[in-house]
């Protein structure tokens, strides 16, 4: 009934974002004037920024996946120079995933309080009552300051983002290799 295969997908690297998006937006052959959505994705191994574009010249959505952002320092250029409405969407992706959009003038946290430390939609952020995936771990504080029990043996990457309250340009500080001690116990 509805068209199932209605999305064209392209994958680009973060360095090409500005050029590709400008071409798609300005070229009279493409005319992708409407940015339908912008979101961040954590695949577990890398970060992505996913754009969905719409043009009146084609019935398909165009999905542009900016792939391969490193998890410890995800950076992508901002598209606010084309769509200034992308500013809040980028703030949301920063808030939830820690993706830094270079060129966004207002990259603050949008939902979580400014002194919040972690990025809730990352895959290594487990919920306190996440019984289905981490049985028997008890109730933890929602903001994860230590790693779950099954990963405790091996050194793991922990996001060491200090409070960004004092910085002019927010940025992820160097990821700290934690030895796996549980500070809560």
């Amino acid at each position: 009934m509805t068209a199932r295969q209605d999305t064209t997908e392209i994958r680009i690297s973060p360095t090409n974002v500005a050029a590709v998006m400008t071409l798609l937006h300005d070229d009279p052959g493409f005319r992708f004037l409407i940015l339908s959505d912008l979101c961040g994705v954590d695949t577990g191994s890398a970060m992505q920024v996913v754009y969905h574009l719409w043009s009146d010249s084609t019935p398909d959505w165009l999905r542009v996946i900016v792939d391969g952002l490193p998890r410890d320092d995800p950076r992508a250029p901002s598209v606010t120079f084309l769509w200034n409405g992308a500013e809040w969407a980028e703030r949301e992706a920063y808030d939830m995933f820690g993706i830094i959009f270079e060129g966004n003038r207002d990259l603050r946290r949008i939902y979580m309080p400014p002194d919040y430390q972690s990025f809730p939609l990352r895959k290594d952020f487990l919920l306190a009552d996440d019984a289905a995936r981490s049985p028997g771990q008890g109730v933890r504080h929602m903001e994860q300051t230590f790693q779950p029990a099954e990963y405790r043996r091996t050194p793991v990457l922990r996001q060491g983002l200090g409070s960004d309250a004092g910085q002019m340009a927010p940025g992820i500080q160097t990821a700290i290799l934690s030895s796996g001690e549980d500070p809560a116990r």
């Binding site: 999305t7 959505d37 979101c39 200034n84 003038r105 939609l121 919920l127 995936r133 927010p170």
Partner: protein, 406 residues
């Protein structure tokens, strides 16, 4: 060793311990964190900051706005979100696909039939599932009824924020009848949890159809009554005409959608731009207005109500027989893949981007809420207007904080 007892006076500055900075920090926060914040909190002579909300009846939820004013004029504003943030996307990742339906319900709580469609349609697209035609027609029927109830309330709220109490009562008459009708169909008045992956939960019943028949008989007349009430009201027209004007270029650049976009003359409606469900089979027009101001948005909502009544009329006449659920297993594993679906909600383009890794839980479910982007545009519309008009502008883009804060 003797300890000397000292009695400290209240003037002693050491008596009070300085607490470290929290979210309750005084504004402006120093030093500014971003370029924009530095610009916002750089005060010129005669400017003043006032705090609006988070608990204010006109913010349509729990929204805090820091207004920078010069006399009665708004110079700039800084909306502060997050008071209603529940992390729905994260919760959806931790439940299975069926849980996501009821988790997405309270996003757009005025028109929950649209937000709950998101996980359903993403899963159907990933499964490549054919939904029975009767179920599609029932969905369209429920969507359009919900759109009318939401638009009727919009008209009332807009007038209420301008100081007129009567229209909101008329709006609630309309809404209450529809909500009772949908309660007869779904069992719920507000958060329906009615759509299912592969169809809908329950067929049309006699109670629903008789209520719908009663309502359809005089729906158009009542909408026209409501129109007469406000269209010829001099105060209402004077306060909305020319207020909060959006032009086409700005509408596109700020990712506006829905009535706010169509009031600028761009006929972008997902039901036609990228058809879904059975909308290609139905006749309706996309009303547009050229002015782009609050009054145009108000008139456009009334036009859309009439189009929705027209759609409901066709749906009732063409309703096919058959099952309302496709044959799907109760516990289903969704094949791996990525899917993007988009529908036209009363506030604009409601879309979702879903990823599945082959398990029964969504790997990622991104919900795009139109209110979020429409509220962002309010920040560009307000400067230069009177403080008293800010709420009229906000009401005219009709934000729902449940979806904005997710």
């Amino acid at each position: 060793m003797t300890t000397e007892q000292t009695i400290r006076s209240l003037d002693d500055p050491d008596l009070f311990v300085e607490t470290p900075g929290t979210i309750y920090d005084a504004i402006p926060p120093l030093p500014p964190r971003t370029e924009r914040e530095a610009e916002f909190y750089a005060m010129r002579d005669g400017e003043m900051l006032i705090n609006l909300g988070p608990q204010h009846p006109s913010t349509h939820g729990v929204l805090r706005v820091v207004l920078k004013i010069d006399g009665e004029r708004v110079v700039d504003l800084d909306p502060v979100l997050g008071y209603l943030h529940r992390g729905v996307e994260k919760i959806c990742e931790n439940g299975d696909w069926h849980h996501a339906i009821s988790n997405c319900d309270p996003l757009e709580y005025i028109a929950a039939m649209f937000s709950e469609a998101m996980p359903v349609m993403v899963a159907e697209k990933l499964l490549d599932l054919e939904v029975p035609r009767r179920a599609e027609y029932i969905r369209v029927l429920a969507w359009e009824l919900n759109r009318i109830s939401s638009h009727a309330l919009f008209v009332g709220w807009l007038a209420l924020d301008l100081g007129g109490l009567t229209p909101v009562l008329y709006g609630f008459i309309e809404r209450d009848e529809i909500v009772e009708m949908l309660a007869a169909l779904t069992g719920q008045r507000l958060l329906f949890n009615y759509l299912r992956i592969g169809g809908v939960n329950g067929d049309l019943n006699h109670d629903f159809l008789s209520r719908l028949g009663d309502w359809m008989g005089n729906a158009l007349k009542r909408i026209e009554d409501q129109q007469k009430l406000l269209n010829s009201n001099e105060i209402f027209v004077a306060r909305t005409r020319g207020l909060g004007v959006v032009d086409r270029d700005m509408a596109r650049r700020t990712l506006l959608s829905g009535p706010v976009l169509r009031a600028t003359g761009i006929p972008y409606d997902v039901r036609r731009a990228h058809p879904y469900s059975v909308y290609p089979e139905l006749e309706f027009t996309i009303p547009t207005r050229e002015e782009g101001d609050s009054y145009a948005r108000y008139l456009l909502h009334l036009d859309e109500i009439k189009q929705s009544i027209h759609i409901i009329d066709q749906v009732l006449h063409r309703m096919p027989d058959g099952p309302v659920m496709a044959k799907v297993p109760r516990l289903m594993r969704i094949p791996p893949g990525r899917a993007y679906v988009s529908i036209e909600s009363p506030r604009g383009q409601y879309s979702a981007y879903g990823m599945s890794d082959g398990s029964d839980q969504p790997f990622r479910l991104r919900i795009h809420d139109p209110s979020f982007f429409n509220l962002q545009a309010v920040g560009l519309l307000m400067p230069g207007n009177l403080v008293a008009d800010t709420m009229a502008i906000m009401a005219s883009v009709d934000p729902i904080m449940g979806g904005i804060d997710k």
